[in-house]
Symmetry: C2
Subunit: 250 residues, 2 copies
């Protein structure tokens, strides 16, 4: 007979630990009881304990370090960093990022030719399969504590009849200065999505378990609302926030 118990034993264990993590009884960084310990206390076997822990790992509430133990994370804490999203022009008219982070690109960026997949072609309002210059950059800053994957897409069709027809323009944000020199007046739309990372994304961005990523798509448009370029950025979703300034619009 099992009717007396409504919740699974492993869920009781997960709830017990989660409550104390949320209410601060177990503060961030604190080592939690070992699996063996919890198994004894709750009168269950280790696999049952592990099932409970798996729930907390997937929720980003704990971090498990092999051979050392299980430690409290703090996914609800105020993020360490706020990244202002936007594009500025300095006194000389050059475009820079609003957050002024100085990225180091691992592996010098090289322009490659790719054909637009439907999802991107849609945003850029070009036919699917149309060739684009593509920069793929794995960037780090602050001594490796900040990481992001950044891609710049520029359709060939934007560049025909310009000095950049044969020599690729630079990746963003220097790209914007180049585009402006072609007579475009720029504005931008940024799209924000979130999802869990794939294993390789988790590895390159050094995401720990239960940490989602932010997926940004920034579209560059000219004064006729024609899409000129697209950037795609993948950012770790923990410990940072984005900020946008919203003026009231008429």
């Amino acid at each position: 007979m099992d009717s007396g118990r409504k919740v699974a034993r492993y869920k009781e264990i997960a709830d017990y630990l989660r409550e104390r993590i949320i209410d601060g009884t177990f503060p961030p960084g604190q080592p939690l009881p070992s699996e063996e310990q919890l198994a004894k206390e709750f009168g269950v076997t280790r696999p049952t304990v592990r099932q409970g822990i798996a729930e907390l790992r997937a929720a980003g509430l704990v971090e498990v370090i092999m051979g050392r133990g299980m430690f409290v994370r703090s996914p609800h804490a105020r993020p360490q960093l706020t990244r202002a999203r936007g594009v500025r022009r300095d006194k000389t008219g050059h475009y820079t990022e609003a957050d002024a982070i100085r990225w180091t690109t691992t592996d010098e960026p090289v322009a490659t030719r790719t054909d637009a997949p439907v999802a991107l072609a849609d945003l850029l309002r070009i036919p699917p399969g149309e060739p684009m210059y593509t920069y793929d950059q794995h960037q780090t800053a602050d001594h490796g504590r900040l990481r992001q994957l950044h891609r710049t897409y520029i359709p060939f069709s934007i560049l025909v009849g310009t000095p950049y027809e044969d020599t690729a323009p630079p990746p963003a944000p220097a790209l914007f200065t180049a585009l402006e020199s072609l007579g475009h007046e720029l504005h931008f739309t940024e799209y924000v999505r979130t999802r869990m990372p794939l294993p390789d994304e988790a590895t390159t961005l050094r995401l720990s378990e239960g940490v989602p990523l932010l997926h940004l798509l920034r579209l560059t448009l000219n004064q006729h609302d024609r899409p000129l370029a697209l950037e795609e950025t993948h950012i770790p979703g923990d410990d940072l926030e984005l900020s946008y300034s919203l003026g009231p619009e008429a």
Copy 2:
């Protein structure tokens, strides 16, 4: 001897399924082989198969329906909905949301009095513990397909010496019209974060496993950059994206 094998059996199973989900061999909605089936094919026991599946669930790649089976989700698909973030003023000068979604609030919103926790006090630049009017709204739209949790915070100190000292102002966005009538010129800053939901958040927002949530904080400021109010919104992170328009700033 285990030396010949580098990767765990359950990981092989997860990789096998993940690859085929990503490359489209198993399209969204497709039922995947049963646990029993996979156990037989890979020559392992069911718990091992389940460990592999747990990984895909946590990544939002599959959805398991009790008694029916396991089905492919599509967390990488273009979102169904784009929500333009921002605040507009219509012809009569009233403030409205840029996305023009017509929310239904379950349980009529009631202004309650709460004391500012440090995190919010910080943003509002008021002392921690200062009293605030608080509206807590669980909103749905599009026949329940859209859901969000929305909170509006207004510090008492903003309202002293105004007609709203005794009668609470309305929640946002009607709040903005009220604030403007007090002589404030408004602008806004929005902060975007992401994290995995807590169990109760997953329940109220009807999030399936492996789906992160978006956490928005929108600060209302006046012409002297004084914070007037704060809104906190929790939104499901799947199947929708936010959009922001970025003008180049000088």
